[in-house]
């Protein structure tokens, strides 16, 4: 069970959290202007990178807030977490051993 750093509550047990898919996929402001392909991509196409991945999480059984996280899919470990609306932090390479503490 990982320790996840909620940007609002600090480090908390993974049990309290819920994973909510890939981060930084904004809903198009005018969906009706989207072609079928564009809309299909928004709905269904997601990345599956080996390495750093930006994800949405929610502190479901804590403060209830959604937030974003960078996680290294090769180690499972979080590198950093940040509030919704903030840009994806520039982190290169792989997560340090053990990830965010």
């Amino acid at each position: 069970m990982l320790v996840i750093h909620c940007p609002y509550c600090g480090p908390r047990p993974e049990l309290e959290f819920r994973h909510c898919g890939q981060a930084h996929i904004a809903r198009p402001l005018d969906p009706s202007a989207q072609t079928a392909d564009e809309w299909g991509e928004y709905l269904y196409l997601r990345e599956n990178p080996k390495g750093m991945h930006a994800e949405r999480w929610r502190h479901m059984h804590g403060c209830g807030r959604f937030f974003n996280a960078l996680r290294d899919t090769t180690t499972d470990f979080f590198v950093t977490t940040y509030k919704c609306g903030e840009p994806r932090p520039a982190v290169s390479g792989t997560a340090p051993a053990g990830g965010q503490r």
């Binding site: 309290e16 209830g64 807030r65």
Partner: protein, 180 residues
């Protein structure tokens, strides 16, 4: 017998907290500030914070950055509700009465934290979870709001239909204390 128990006499008690009034206040900073004025104390701004109004049964619990629970006794309920409505009138906010949504249990005794840690994953030492810290968390499969009211006492606020489940689990866990 595990050596874990040998250290102190085992004891804990679970009781119902008398009915009171409780609201969820959600809103922006201005609304929360205005509500604090009506409430009688600045509302907690730090994660897990609790604000009390000295000499009254009023307590404000931080449950999220825009979610504060306000509670008081039945007797003080109407007065507080009126004050809040007046104080908040000029600010966009949501004030919802949840007095009947939840029930509260008081768990007290030297082994209160020990009982909770059977199925609650949080660290509950006084250093990590001081008196007047509150948070939503889990107790086994039930979501609870856990509020440390004293060194050896906690309020467990939970959905009213979960009362039997949570108190049943605590009773089951405490059988071991009775045997010790």
């Amino acid at each position: 017998m595990s050596e874990w128990f040998a250290k102190s006499a085992a004891q804990a008690a679970l009781t119902d907290v008398p009915e009171g009034r409780r609201w969820v206040l959600r809103g922006g900073d201005a609304a929360l500030a205005a509500a604090g004025a009506a409430f009688g104390a600045s509302l907690p701004a730090q994660a897990g914070g609790v604000a009390r109004v000295a000499g009254t049964p009023r307590a404000a619990l931080w449950l999220g950055p825009d979610e504060i629970w306000l509670g008081t006794s039945m007797d003080d309920g109407a007065a507080l509700e009126a004050a809040l409505q007046t104080g908040l009138a000029a600010h966009a906010h949501s004030l919802v009465d949840i007095s009947h949504r939840n029930v509260a249990l008081e768990l007290s005794g030297t082994h209160a934290a020990w009982l909770l840690n059977s199925l609650c994953p949080l660290e509950l030492t006084l250093e990590a979870f001081p008196v007047d810290t509150v948070t939503r968390t889990l107790f086994s499969k039930a979501e609870i709001v856990l509020w440390r009211t004293g060194e050896h006492s906690f309020q467990i606020v939970l959905g009213r239909s979960f009362r039997g489940y949570v108190s049943g689990l605590l009773a089951e866990v405490s059988r071991e204390l009775a045997a010790a």
